[in-house]
């Protein structure tokens, strides 16, 4: 035998646990604990009956008699979502609001991202900082600030009256307009950042080449910049659209009583009606609708990082 011998196998490796497996396992454990388990709980609740108890639903599994286990699956919660038009309307309205907000974010965010990407290195960092800066305060605070701006004797109305454009204060707060302003304002950075990341990689000499071949600057933008930033636009749009569908805080604070959003319906079912099973069913439905968008976003991301165009 040589004097070196064999390194003793570390304790964990004897059970097939290597450092590599540990590192890979960590995110999976995280997902299991904080996504899969809660998801299964919500799924479970969505199939139960309402009960006047704590928690306010009946168990799915029940021992009956000596050795029999009964499973009560209640599909009524889902059926109910389609019998009462409230839910479908709220869902359709949420999708509409999210889509319109995404469009506005794109129209406003694109020129901003473009401007930042084409700015000089020093200004560019400053501008990026300004985009990110709002994240340093809570979303709630920023939405309340909008209430201060939009209300009847708020900053905007007072300014307009002072300038003399209007004599009576305009009703801005608790209107769809206020809600759109809030959503677009809050989600704009999520549009700007992926777009910027995309545009920043662009070879601006391509635009010179296009002009050289006979394009006016706006044609060069339309034929070169726009198609090349498609992945950035898609990524930004998904990042705005997906959370905006389920947005609850902004419509509740700025949108007034008529802003029927699915997130708000869910909140009401859960807290006001204590109808946990129906609320869970709403949550599942929302998930099913958003999964295709998320998958699309993932594939866009994969394409973007692969660099294939």
């Amino acid at each position: 035998m040589s004097s070196g011998g064999r390194r003793p196998t570390p304790f964990l490796e004897r059970f097939g646990v290597t450092g590599r497996a540990l590192v890979v396992a960590l995110p999976f454990v995280w997902l299991l604990l904080f996504f899969v388990v809660p998801f299964v709980i919500v799924l479970k609740i969505s199939f139960s009956d309402v009960d006047l108890a704590i928690p306010p639903y009946k168990p799915l599994l029940e021992w009956v008699g000596q050795n029999a286990l009964a499973i009560h699956l209640n599909f009524n919660n889902y059926a109910f979502l389609f019998t009462d038009s409230l839910y479908v309307n709220a869902l359709v309205n949420s999708l509409k609001v999210a889509a319109i907000s995404t469009l506005f974010c794109l129209v406003i965010g694109y020129p901003m991202a473009y401007g930042i990407a084409r700015a000089q290195a020093r200004t560019r960092n400053l501008l990026l900082l300004l985009v990110i800066l709002p994240f340093w305060t809570s979303l709630l605070l920023r939405v309340y600030a909008w209430i201060g701006l939009l209300k009847a004797n708020g900053v905007i109305n007072n300014l307009l009256i002072w300038v003399g454009l209007i004599h009576e204060p305009l009703t801005l707060l608790y209107t769809p307009l206020a809600m759109y302003i809030g959503i677009v304002y809050s989600y704009l950075p999520f549009m700007i950042l992926p777009l910027y990341a995309n545009l920043e990689k662009m070879d601006w000499q391509l635009l010179e080449a296009a002009e050289d071949l006979g394009c006016r600057p706006y044609q060069a933008f339309y034929k070169i910049t726009l198609p090349l930033s498609r992945n950035g636009m898609l990524a930004g749009s998904m990042l705005v659209f997906i959370p905006a569908v389920g947005e609850f805080v902004i419509p509740a604070l700025l949108g007034g009583p008529n802003a029927l959003m699915i997130g708000r319906v869910l909140w009401d079912e859960f807290f006001s009606n204590r109808a946990w099973p129906v609320a869970s069913a709403v949550a599942m439905l929302l998930l099913v609708i958003l999964v295709p968008f998320m998958m699309w976003y993932q594939s866009v991301q994969a394409r973007e990082s692969a660099g294939a165009k």
Partner: protein
């Protein structure tokens, strides 16, 4: 030194009545205090391949970009085919450019890239297809029409870029370091391909390059640039054999520069006493310089003869020891160190496979023909 006769057989720049195709008139371009291009005047004739040669930062690319319309001159003007180009944007100039990075559109196929300019001009569809096919045939890329740029090699991209800039049949084609990204072998082949394409289409080329060999091969005339100025313009052989300054002599090819004082200044010959050679240089042509002036004699390494026996005469003879030898196959470079410490570069063709070789530390005599030195005063 590979120097072909350019595609132009006559020499329009020698004809005072010839109409220049491109006229650069006292053009200056400043960026803040920095003058990238400084009072440059230039005449380029139809069918020429004119090379702007210089080190990076000498202003050659800025000058090219002004021809393309991507920069506006701070003063002076540029005429192309007799038309003043001041204020004419790139998309209205009868000029196309081949960019150094090629700037191929990554989201379009080879075919779409080449067709881009024609579509922009609303050329009928069938004609576009014809012209694109012809052009792809010319640059030998017919089989790659459906590929995207990222599926091509460097040489193929270069040819797509060339096809794209030529398909619109520009009167003037600007090429920014067209062969810069290619390896040496490919570059040599492509140089001759470029010349043959240019010959076929009769387009005027203005080429920017930092590679003097490339300039020598391609150009009908070369404009050597330094610090924003054109220091000398002429045919490759004029630039090489009759450089007007130390800078040009040194930049184009390799050269030995001997500093000395003018001691005899006759119309037929001059004699220069060189301290660093401890010898006199006899030159068989007159020059215009003040008597006793400090001048420089430039002698190309291939025009110096090396031998182990002392040659006759006392002019143009120096003695030294071989310090280093580089064997390049077709020729060898010898660095000979003189007693003064001056190192002279000599190249000798390896004409025989079994030549009696001169080796390290051997004492040798160097001599050159009285017609070989070029005397420059700056």
């Amino acid at each position: 030194m590979a120097s072909t006769t350019g595609p132009i057989k006559a020499a329009p720049w020698k004809d005072p009545d010839a109409r220049p195709f491109v006229q650069v008139e006292r053009v200056t371009k400043s960026f803040g205090d920095f003058k990238a291009v400084d009072d440059v005047s230039l005449k380029i004739y139809k069918g020429e391949i004119f090379c702007l040669l210089g080190a990076s930062g000498c202003g050659k690319t800025t000058l090219l970009r002004m021809l393309g319309g991507f920069e506006t001159p701070s003063s002076g003007r540029i005429l192309i085919d007799g038309e003043d180009m001041t204020g004419v944007p790139p998309y209205e100039r009868p000029v196309n450019m081949m960019f150094q990075s090629y700037a191929l559109f990554p989201h379009m196929t080879v075919e779409q890239n080449v067709a881009f300019g024609l579509k922009q001009d609303r050329v009928p569809k069938s004609e576009i297809a014809d012209r694109v096919a012809t052009m792809l045939g010319l640059v030998k890329l017919k089989d790659f029409a459906k590929r995207k740029p990222h599926q091509l090699s460097g040489g193929q991209k270069q040819r797509v870029a060339l096809a794209r800039s030529l398909v619109k049949r520009p009167k003037l084609l600007l090429l920014d370091e067209p062969l810069g990204a290619l390896d040496k072998k490919l570059r040599e082949n492509t140089q001759f391909e470029l010349i043959s394409i240019q010959d076929k289409l009769g387009v005027t080329f203005v080429v920017v390059t930092h590679d003097q060999e490339e300039a020598m091969t391609l150009a009908s005339r070369i404009g050597v640039m330094n610090q924003g100025e054109i220091v000398q313009a002429g045919t490759p052989s004029e630039i090489y054999e009759f450089p007007s300054s130390k800078f040009v002599a040194d930049f184009v090819g390799s050269v030995n520069i001997f500093e000395g004082k003018l001691i005899e200044d006759e119309p037929e010959y001059v004699r220069i006493a060189s301290e660093e050679l401890r010898a006199t240089i006899y030159v068989s042509h007159g020059i215009s310089a003040a008597p006793e002036a400090v001048v420089w004699a430039a002698v190309r390494p291939e025009k110096i003869f090396m031998s182990t026996v002392a040659p006759e005469g006392s002019d143009n003879v120096v003695r030294g020891a071989v310090q280093d030898i580089a064997y390049l196959g077709d020729l060898s470079i010898y660095l000979v160190k003189l007693a003064t410490g001056k190192v002279v570069r000599v190249t000798q063709p390896n004409t025989s496979r079994h030549a009696e070789a001169i080796t390290w530390d051997q004492q040798v005599y160097l001599t050159w023909d009285p017609s070989s030195p070029v005397v420059v005063t700056r």
